[in-house]
Every structure is written in structure tokens, then in C-alpha cells.
């Protein structure tokens, strides 16, 4: 297991697509910071009345969908990249225990998503708070201690999405199909749920992948995705 894990780590480091995705993640962090400056500029030009009507939206919530999608894509690519090129046959020849390979990929992508999710979420929050709290933005009124659990949750959600991406990739085996599926789960379905009548829009909406806060629901997503992936990988010929 340790050997396969180390190989998977090297694999993700040596493909360009994963480098591009991680570059995009850095860009998202930078965009968040620029957005905070833009909001501050807008605030500077606002009348006192408008200033009093600020909503409680935060920068990290605004950039979160981008982060979700990027890491979902990374989760998809780590496995469909192998199916698309045929590399999977070589990979499973040198490491024929398929569940070990799947689990190693899950550990590598999970760790990478978790670290980058937390880094981006916290850096975005801290910089935005530094710029916007003094200007009375409601989203940054609470103390860091009060926000901490929510930030850890938001920073961990990309891990869940990346693992769902991995599961979708292993089941669908096609980059295009799995990318569409992850985009549907992150963007399209949650948007459609918004059209449901009250109170179902909120009830079902809170179960949607990008809005999950309950750790149990998050675990459920991961278990279903990786379970389906395990069955698909063990059963199918490559």
C-alpha cells in the first residue's frame, strides 16, 4: 500500500493537468483577495445609507463554487486521465490490487484537496477580514474563534467534492462524462433545487453537494461515490 501510495503521489505531481488545476486554485485565492479590495473600493464610494444595507455575503462564500469545481475536476482527472490514455492498464499491471490503487488515489487526492481547500479558505477569510471588518461588513463582524468551525467545514468541503469526482470518474471512465456530472452536482442541480416551493428548496438544498454542512451527509457522499467506484473497478475488465 505504501509503495502504491508513493507512486500515486508521484503520478499526480508529474502530470500537467493536475499542475494546471492547482495553479487555478492559487488563482482563486488571488481572485478572492482582489475581490476584497474591490468591495472595499465600492464601500469607500458608498453613501452611509447604502453602507447600512450591506448583506452578510462573504468573499470566501463567493469564490467557493470555483474552488469546488476545480477540486472536483482534479478528482475526476486523476482517474479518467488513466482511462483515457490507457495508462490504467499499465497501472493495474504493476499494481494488480485494484482497491489498493483506488484507495491510494483517494488518499492522495483527498489530502491535496484538504490542504488546498483549507489554505484557500483561510487565506481568503483572513485577508478579507483584514480589509472589510473595519468597514462594517456584517460577514466579518464575528470573531475568528466564532468563525473557526464554519471555516474548517467550508475548507474541508472541497475534499468531499474531489472524492465524489474520483468516484464519478472511476464509474463513468470518461473525462467528458465525469466532468459534466461533477458540474451538474456542483452548479446545475443546486440551482434547479432553488426553484422548488418552500420549504423544500431549503430542505433539499441543504443536502446538495456544495451546501453540505452536516459531516454525516458529507461522509454519505464520499461512501456512496467511493463504494460505487470500488465495485466498478473490481468488476470491470480494463
Amino acid at each position: 500500500m505504501r509503495d502504491v501510495l508513493s507512486a500515486e503521489w508521484l503520478k499526480i505531481r508529474t502530470t500537467r493537468s493536475s499542475q494546471y488545476v492547482l495553479l487555478a486554485v492559487v488563482v482563486i485565492a488571488v481572485v478572492g483577495i482582489l475581490l476584497a479590495y474591490a468591495w472595499a473600493q465600492t464601500w469607500n464610494g458608498m453613501s452611509p445609507q447604502s453602507r447600512a444595507r450591506l448583506t452578510d455575503s462573504s468573499i470566501e462564500d463567493t469564490t467557493a463554487p470555483l474552488l469546488h469545481f476545480c477540486l472536483g475536476v482534479l478528482g475526476v482527472l486523476i482517474i479518467t486521465g488513466e482511462y483515457a490514455t490507457g495508462m490504467i492498464r499499465t497501472s493495474l499491471t504493476v499494481a494488480p490490487r485494484r482497491l489498493t490503487v483506488l484507495l491510494s488515489k483517494a488518499v492522495v487526492i483527498g489530502a491535496l484537496a484538504w490542504v488546498s481547500g483549507l489554505l484557500v479558505t483561510f487565506s481568503t477569510y483572513l485577508v478579507s477580514r483584514d480589509i472589510l471588518a473595519s468597514r462594517g461588513f456584517p460577514a466579518y463582524a464575528a470573531s475568528f474563534g466564532e468563525e473557526l468551525p464554519g471555516l474548517v467545514g467550508a475548507g474541508s468541503l472541497p475534499t468531499v467534492i474531489a472524492l465524489v469526482g474520483l468516484g464519478l470518474g472511476a464509474v463513468l471512465r470518461s473525462t467528458a462524462g465525469a466532468l459534466f456530472a461533477i458540474a451538474a452536482l456542483v452548479f446545475i442541480v443546486p440551482a434547479l433545487i432553488g426553484f422548488l416551493p418552500d420549504p423544500w428548496d431549503d430542505r433539499i438544498g441543504s443536502l446538495m453537494l456544495p451546501h453540505v454542512t452536516d459531516p454525516l451527509v458529507a461522509t454519505g457522499y464520499v461512501v456512496v461515490a467511493l463504494g460505487a467506484a470500488a465495485v466498478a473497478m473490481v468488476r470491470r475488465d480494463v
Binding site: T14, A95, D237
Partner: protein, 314 residues
């Protein structure tokens, strides 16, 4: 480091028992029972679509058999703890991620079996890719990819090697290199299974031939036996042809007159014919052994299998 003790193998190394693979109503491999032994190159020969690759994929547990089993040294391949140290396989040279450099690709594979980077470097030198180690595989020709695949197979210094159509895409130099490599690997006591759809290639490389057609074993033979089986006798010309025919028949030969003139003799070799003629003082003007080419033998064998199959279905 080569550890010769590990290379030396005895008995049957790869064994399939009633190995069968069906895809819906199509049967790719049907009840194939073969054994592959160490110390020689075994050619796995058959027309395209005969089931060679499917068989190899089942040996490597990439495809699950519908029934029957395939074992490597008595175990299923996916039970091997460090498979690269036991079996080196090249099935599809294009089954690589084109975005990786050659050296990174091999390092990724090596790591799964705890093989270090020094071995990667030495294998790249062995296959002649040291100069392009840092280039991306996407830009490699098929020949270079074949060499890369061979390098991957050699990484673990395994006792068993399986190459599926390894000379595809290679230039004449590369073809000769593969030929010499497979022969030297077998001479070291390893088990070498090489598939091809070209008899001309196997003729130069293989000692033993497993010929399959439509998923069934047609012939388990050697190059020499196949030539003998399909040999077309010896052409003999003599000014005293009728007398010589009698002499050769008496010596145990089967003599016919050849359509092109002369005698066609089966069952006697050139030396025996010459001796018999000399013993009776008959001059001979030509003694030419006429073996069918292996290619013809192969065509005849595989054509038979097709006829047999069609007949059986009627």
C-alpha cells in the same frame, strides 16, 4: 542488481486451464489450455483477433476469464506481492500518459514495487532511451514507446516476460534488437512469451510455437516440427531418372514425378538420397530440399481451423 538465483525457473511457469473469455455471444478465447516453460522463447501466434491479447490480459488479471483460470507459477497474478519482480509485461505500448516524461513514467511504475531510481536509469540505458529520458512520451514514435514499454517490463528484473506484438512500429534495427533481447532473456533461463501475427518474425525468434485461431489452440509445436510437417520433400534431377526412382523407393522414399520435371522425394533427406544414388552409380544433377515456408504452413494451419469451425457449426 541481477540475482541469477531468482531468474532460474523450473517446470511450467505460465499455465492456462480451459481458459475461456466471452463477450456476449462472441467467444474471444475458448477453453485454451497451454503451458509456457522457462529457458526458451515461446511464440504466441495467430491472426489478428485470434485471442492472443485477451489471453495475455487474462494472465495479468486485467480481464477476468468467463471460466477456467490462468496461473503464473501456480498463483493468480493478482496474488503476487511484487508482480514487477516476477512478471514483466508489455501489452500496449500506447497505454501511457503522454504528458509525462519517459523517466517520470518509469519512476511512477517502479515505485509501486519499491524499485529505486537507479534501476530506472540503468533500464533506460539498456533500451537506448537515456537520451530522451526527460522528453514527454506524447512526442514519442511508436518504436520509442515500444522501447519504453520494454524498459517498464524489465524494471523488476522478472523471471517471466510477456510481450504482445513487440516489433510493431520498430525499424529494422529495433526489430533485430528485440529479437536478440528476447533470445538472451530466454538464454538466461527466463520464461519468454512473445505474441505476433507474423510467422516470419516468430521464425527468427521463437523456439516453441503456440498457434491459435479464433480463440482455440491449433497447434503446440516447434519451428522445426512445423517445417517437417509441412515440408514438400526434395527435388531430384538425374539423367537416369526412372532407375533412380526405383532405387529411392527401395530406400524407403516416397517418390513422385514433379510437375516441373525431376522427382519429388519425401521421407529421405538430401544425404540419404545422395548416398543411395552413389551406391548405385547414378549421377544426380540436382538435389534441392524444398521446405514450405513457415508462412505457408501457418496459413494452412489457420485456414484449417477456420474450415473446421465452419464445418462444426453446420
Amino acid at each position: 542488481m541481477r540475482r541469477p538465483g531468482r531468474v532460474r525457473q523450473r517446470g511450467t511457469v505460465i499455465e492456462t486451464t480451459h481458459l475461456t473469455k466471452r463477450y456476449g455471444s462472441t467467444t474471444a478465447v475458448e477453453s485454451l489450455s497451454v503451458q509456457v516453460n522457462p529457458g526458451c522463447v515461446t511464440g504466441f501466434l495467430g491472426p489478428n483477433g485470434a485471442g492472443k491479447s485477451t489471453t495475455m490480459r487474462m494472465v495479468l488479471c486485467l480481464a477476468a476469464p468467463t471460466s477456467g483460470e490462468a496461473l503464473v507459477q501456480g498463483r493468480r497474478y493478482d496474488q503476487l506481492r511484487f508482480p514487477m519482480h516476477e512478471v514483466g509485461a508489455l501489452l500496449d505500448a500506447n497505454a501511457v500518459h503522454g504528458g509525462r516524461t519517459a523517466v517520470d513514467h518509469l519512476r511512477c511504475l517502479a515505485r509501486t514495487n519499491g524499485i529505486g531510481d537507479t534501476r530506472v536509469v540503468s533500464v533506460m540505458e539498456q533500451v537506448g532511451l537515456a537520451g530522451v529520458a526527460k522528453r514527454r512520451i506524447g512526442g514519442f514514435s511508436l518504436g520509442m514507446r515500444q522501447r519504453l514499454g520494454i524498459a517498464a517490463a524489465l524494471l523488476g528484473d522478472p523471471g517471466v516476460l510477456m510481450f504482445d506484438e513487440p516489433v510493431n512500429g520498430l525499424d529494422p534495427d529495433g526489430v533485430r534488437w528485440i529479437r536478440e533481447l528476447t533470445r538472451s532473456l530466454a538464454a538466461e533461463g527466463r520464461t519468454v512469451l512473445v505474441s505476433s501475427h507474423l510467422m516470419s518474425e516468430m521464425e527468427q525468434t521463437a523456439d516453441r510455437l503456440l498457434i491459435i485461431g479464433r480463440g482455440r489452440l491449433i497447434s503446440d509445436t516447434t519451428v522445426r516440427d512445423l517445417l517437417r510437417q509441412f515440408g514438400r520433400g526434395v527435388l531430384v534431377r538425374s539423367p537416369r531418372q526412372a532407375e533412380l526412382a526405383t532405387v529411392l523407393t527401395a530406400a524407403g522414399g516416397e517418390v513422385d514425378s514433379d510437375p516441373g520435371g525431376g522427382l519429388s522425394v519425401k521421407g529421405l533427406d538430401v544425404a540419404e538420397i545422395g548416398d543411395a544414388a552413389a551406391a548405385h552409380g547414378i549421377a544426380v544433377h540436382e538435389v534441392t530440399p524444398r521446405s514450405a515456408s513457415l508462412e505457408e504452413a501457418y496459413m494452412a494451419l489457420t485456414a484449417d481451423s477456420v474450415d473446421y469451425r465452419a464445418g462444426a457449426q453446420r
